[in-house]
Amino acid sequence: MTKSIRAASLRSTTAFAITLAGLGTVAAAEEITVVSGAVGNAIEEFDRIVAPWEERTGHTAVLVPMPASTTDQFGQYRLWLAAGNGDIDLYQTDVIWAPQLAEHFVDLSEAAADVIDDHFPSIIESQTVEGKLVAMPIYTDAPALYYRTDMLEKYGFDAPPETWEELTSMAQTIQEGERNDGNGEFWGFVFQGNSYEGLTCNALEWVKSYGGGQIVEADGTISINNEQAVAALEQAASWVGTIAPDGVVSYQEEEARGVWQTGNAAFMRNWPYAYSLGNGEDSAVAGLFDVTTLPTGGEGSAATLGGWNIAVSQYGDNIDIATDLAMYLASEEAQKMRALNSTNLPTIQSLYSDPEIAEQQPIIPRWEEVFLSAVPRPSAPTQEDYNEVSTAFFSAVHSVLTGEEDAATALEDLELDLEDILE
């Protein structure tokens, strides 16, 4: 934090010097503020990525870090935008926010006309609202099942689990074995069970892979109250306190990664960012793990479509410069850096066959197929009610995980709540 502020001020001094040197030829150096949630090493990473742009244009880009919880970020952004706040030029937006915030952002379709076809069409579509390109995709996200190759070998499994049942029994075996060997803090499986947006992603994967639909279908039908969904949630609830720690119901991404990266879990459900961090120097599991698609409940594997985009606020003072920075952040150059440094999955299709990426981050080319099984969260059919729908869903799932309610009752009540919210 302090480091980034110092770096930012240092840069603005340099930029100032450059401006003075080229007085008359270079336009005044502007400071463009970018607001984004900060997970892992996001702040250092940002400074590294914008450096070439700053050098080229003489302007500076400053990151305003926000809490990791996307729910908290969204609330704050919406308030700033509704108030016409001009302090922030660029917003890093979640894939699900486009329909809710569309009116506050600049239409980028003209600026992006030349590059738009390089991106995955489905991702561009998710950011287009009534013909307006609300945000440029900078990376996409789909979760993976992380597994310990050494543990699988030690306990005689030759492949990672394909179904949730297999995962449950394998996790059980490994956990018991490790505990008998004296590691009392070893757990079979960690995921994100806190009551927040991340639980909506986790639970949507369970429900969808059991054939239980996607909460609210594309045509607006509320589909969550069904037997498959009940079975999926019962399965998940059975993990808490057995193969997953009791505390998993308060874990977000970083807590799960904490248990995993200290070598205390056999399996983890997490986003690709944990791959390069897990292979970092301070990681106890470096070189000891691999990733695969999430298990299925019988109806195919499902991965919640995540991903981040960059949107230009129409209330900022330097819309043109901000748009330029946005286009740079979404460019092939920036996406490649992001892929190499932090295993962020590119949204530009050609990068999946890039030899350098394939060599340094072999996980990325394998990810292309995951997108084929990616499930969108129901933000399009629920529009401005999405947050309320998602909160009702993750609250219901959370109460099942903690054992306050049984799955059947929780989903029955949830259906009524959703009817109220959406009517």
Binding site: S195, P245, V249, N264, N387, G403, D420
Partner: protein, 337 residues
């Protein structure tokens, strides 16, 4: 309160004919001047209060009667909906009647119960512990000043920081509390303090008591220092047992200080937000009125319903304070003092 009382007095003054006209009118004039000056000095404060307290409160109450959302609060396009946010009767397409609104919302009443339960237990514990600490600090011993300063540290740490700090200490995997308890054999497996619905409220109470006991102690200590020493000496000479001295002498004399300390803390506890929001997942077992209202306002952008919750929270707190003042016969104006 007290400056309001001055007004009728001043207005009455000229009505009663003074025995000596000249001196009397001079005195009345002086009185009026002093009142004018008093108002002049109070004016900046009153304007400030109106701006930062009265106006937002009024806006909040006004919003609770509208369907305002995040997109309409700034452009004034929200519509008046009467009491629909509080309670509304709606008939479904299949003829089924459903009551909606905050007043019939189970989640809201659960939050009210959580808040009240939290307030009673936390203020109760803090009162007892704060009293003990204050009694110790009131005794003469070497290094008393240092201990007094040290004991205030938890109160000085911002809640965000202490919530995070305790969050890590109570963590089920890396937490030092579980480590220590396992070490001495109190528990045989780590407890997920903040996550489990049975212990989440206990975790919140532990942190809150740790944080605010010093504040309680400080206020009670101030009360203790007002008790004249000679009363204790008299009791000592009469050979009265120290416990009896505490209940018959100390307690009645510091009662006003305690009542004020308790009301401060109760007001704080009833609107608790930060500690619970940061320390625990937002589950039914800990969610309070403020957390629910924040969620409605900030996360759902539903300013109508969120403001309704804020208004009800305001009314509930006012109700509690009035009840407390009546029961405790607290004299906040100091008129009878």
């Amino acid at each position: 309160m007290s400056h309001a009382d001055m007004v009728p007095e001043a207005a009455n003054a000229p009505k009663s004919p003074p025995p000596e006209v000249n001196a009397g009118s001079g005195e009345a004039e002086l009185q009026r001047q002093r009142i004018r000056a008093a108002y002049l000095f109070l004016l900046p404060m009153l304007v400030m209060l109106a701006l930062v307290a009265a106006w937002p409160l009024f806006r909040s109450i006004a919003f609770s009667f509208t369907d305002a959302s995040a997109n309409t609060i700034f452009n004034g396009e929200s519509e008046w909906v009467g009491f629909d946010n509080y309670v509304e009767r709606s008939v479904r397409s299949n003829g089924e009647v459903r009551w909606r609104g905050v007043l019939v919302d189970g989640d809201w009443w659960n939050a009210v119960w959580n808040t009240v339960r939290f307030s009673l237990v936390s203020v109760g514990l803090e009162l007892v512990l704060g009293m003990l600490v204050a009694l110790v600090l009131n005794a003469e011993f070497k290094g008393r000043g240092l201990v007094r300063a040290a004991i205030l540290i938890p109160w000085a740490i911002p809640t965000v920081v202490s919530a995070r700090m305790w969050g890590w200490m109570l963590n089920d995997q890396f937490g030092v509390i579980n480590y220590m308890m396992m070490g001495v054999g109190l528990i045989d497996r780590p407890i997920a303090w903040t996550a489990s619905s049975d212990t989440a409220m206990i975790a919140v109470l532990i942190v809150d008591v740790w944080k605010t006991t010093p504040f309680m102690a400080l206020l009670i200590l101030a009360g203790l220092q007002m008790v004249p020493r000679d009363m204790y000496e008299a009791a000592k000479i009469d050979g009265i047992h120290p416990v009896k001295v505490f209940f018959k002498v100390t307690l009645p004399l510091i009662r006003p200080a305690i009542l004020v300390a308790v009301i401060f803390r109760a007001l704080d506890a009833l609107r608790i937000f930060d500690l619970i929001y940061l320390l625990t997942p937002q589950s039914d077992s800990t969610v309070t009125m403020s957390v629910l209202s924040y969620r409605e306002l900030q996360q759902f952008g539903d300013y109508g319903e969120g403001s309704t919750m804020s208004t009800l929270l305001f009314l509930i707190i006012t109700g509690f304070v009035l009840l407390y003042l009546k029961i405790g016969r607290v004299d906040l104006a100091g008129d009878k003092g």
